[in-house]
């Protein structure tokens, strides 16, 4: 469904992605792990076309992202839902306007219908009844869940999660994990999540890929990753300061 082929991206002199390769199958839940600043967000932004590769190809649904024209990119994007690292809710719009944003832009539904649809999605993430609140009045966990409701508003086929559990308490993190699992089971979506939270990774992943120094250095099921022989992956998943990964 999604193929990242030989992806290179540099910002200034900093080579962030250095020949990354990754294949994600339809219906699969892929988790990309990697250290802070390793380029996880940059990778996921390439998948949805927010960033353009210096070299390499992204193929989604058999289509090469780089070869699509403006309108075609937008059509492809309607298949995606994305939850941003900081939720990225629109401050100037209320919760229901946020959740219903894409419906307002791309359908002919009336405000009343959009509000009702937004209410449904909010119910799915356990936040019924907060339609009229403003984003500034929400806690971090609520913001992430509203962000998730917004991501699923158009019933996407692919969901991208940028650090869905980072910055949340363990219980709220687990609530989000369960929601991600529910999305896959109920909505049958293909999902790509990036995280450095190993608890979350083991729980939601079908397969885990590790990004290190701009490349995907290992891909495997949670079981395979846990019993890895690669010293870099081993150090990362056990969270040890001692090992081959250069710190600082």
């Amino acid at each position: 469904m999604i193929q990242v082929i030989n992806l290179y991206k540099a910002f200034g002199r900093k080579q962030v992605l250095d020949g990354a390769n990754l294949k994600i199958k339809k219906g699969e839940s892929m988790v990309v792990i990697g250290g802070s600043g390793s380029g996880k967000s940059v990778l996921i932004k390439h998948i949805i076309g927010l960033l353009k590769p210096d070299k390499g190809t992204i193929v989604v649904d058999g289509k090469d992202m780089a070869k699509l024209k403006g309108g075609e990119v937008d059509n492809l994007r309607k298949k995606f839902g994305m939850l941003f690292q900081g939720a990225a809710l629109f401050d100037s719009l209320s919760v229901w306007e946020n959740v219903g944003f894409a419906l307002k832009q791309h359908t002919k539904l009336s405000d009343k219908e959009i509000r009702a649809a937004a209410g449904e999605k909010l119910k799915m993430v356990g936040l019924a009844g907060i339609e009229d609140m403003m984003p500034v009045d929400l806690s971090g966990g609520m913001r992430k869940r509203v962000g998730l409701a917004r991501a699923i508003a158009m019933d996407p086929e692919i969901l991208l999660y940028d650090e869905p559990t980072t910055g949340l308490d363990p219980i709220m993190a687990d609530v989000i994990n369960n929601l991600i699992i529910e999305m896959r089971e109920k909505l049958k979506v293909t999902s790509v999540a990036i995280t450095h939270d190993m608890v979350s990774a083991y729980k939601i992943a079908d397969r885990i890929a590790m990004l290190y120094e701009g490349k995907i250095i290992e891909v495997g099921t949670p079981g395979e990753i846990k019993s890895t022989k690669n010293p870099i992956v081993k150090q990362f998943i056990t969270g040890s300061a001692v090992g081959p990964i250069k710190v600082g």
Partner: protein
């Protein structure tokens, strides 16, 4: 000590600054062109346009009223002092009316709106950029330039002339107050002098300038906000940059517009 080294470095510094400036102007032109392309592609988001007209126009009325009245008043005082020296006091009204409509109305309104609405536009869009809200728009298949920039540019283009009309009226009224109440001019004569020499062309060219200033402010402020980077500090820099560049371009373009229009 090392004179050559110093001058070389100075030259290099100036060269880099000029190169940077030219490059930035180029990017602004690209951004402006893209905005224009989206502007003529329907549908227009009327709700956002009205919201921005309120933000840029209605919310600036207060400052504009104070600025314009006091400008008109001080103009009357100053020109009276000057003109009295060659017995031309009777021309105070004329000078106030001409200066306000041709020059001070549009320029001062532009500068004030740049400081007020331009700064808030850059800060708002900058915050949206660094908190990934602009990326979020794009992922929802909504072009950020069409959704955010086009309404602001339209609002700037329409509201600046309207604010300038208010400026002109209050400036002339302020001058009248000082002329009649403080300098004891005859009210009827003052009024007649104000409008006798004023031509429609003076007013319209002033309003045309104001529209150009409205474009400058909204395009520059959106551009700066759009390309803000680096958290809260980046937003601060974008805001300052937006105000400084808008003000510079208003003053520079004012000269050239005046040279062309009159």
């Amino acid at each position: 000590m090392d004179d050559k080294g110093f001058f070389m470095r100075l030259l290099e510094g100036v060269g880099l600054a000029v190169a940077h400036f030219v490059e930035e102007m180029g990017r602004i032109m690209v951004f402006f062109t893209e905005t224009l392309l989206w502007l003529f592609r329907p549908p227009l988001n009327l709700r956002n346009i009205f919201k921005q007209m309120e933000e840029i126009g209605v919310n600036s009325v207060g400052v504009v009223i104070i600025m314009a009245s006091f400008t008109g008043m001080v103009l009357a005082l100053q020109s009276y002092t000057g003109f009295k020296r060659f017995n031309a006091e009777s021309l105070v009204g004329t000078v106030v009316a001409l200066s306000m409509t041709r020059e001070l109305g549009p320029v001062l309104t532009g500068l004030i709106v740049a400081g007020r609405a331009g700064a808030s536009m850059a800060a708002e869009l900058g915050t949206m950029r660094v908190t990934e809200q602009i990326d979020a728009l794009a992922t929802m298949a909504t072009n950020p330039i069409k959704y955010l920039t086009v309404p602001r540019v339209i609002a700037g283009f329409i509201m600046l002339p309207l604010l300038t009309i208010i400026s002109n009226m209050l400036g002339i009224f302020g001058g009248y107050l000082v002329g009649v109440k403080v300098l004891d001019a005859n009210p009827v004569v003052y009024m007649r002098r104000s409008f006798d020499y004023l031509e429609m062309n003076d007013v319209f060219s002033g309003l045309f300038k104001a529209s150009v200033f409205g474009l400058i402010i909204s395009v520059i402020s959106c551009y700066k906000g759009f390309y803000a980077a680096g958290g809260a500090e980046g937003v601060g820099k974008a805001t300052t940059g937006a105000v400084v560049i808008s003000m510079m371009l208003i003053l520079i373009s004012d000269y050239f517009l005046t040279a062309i229009l009159f």
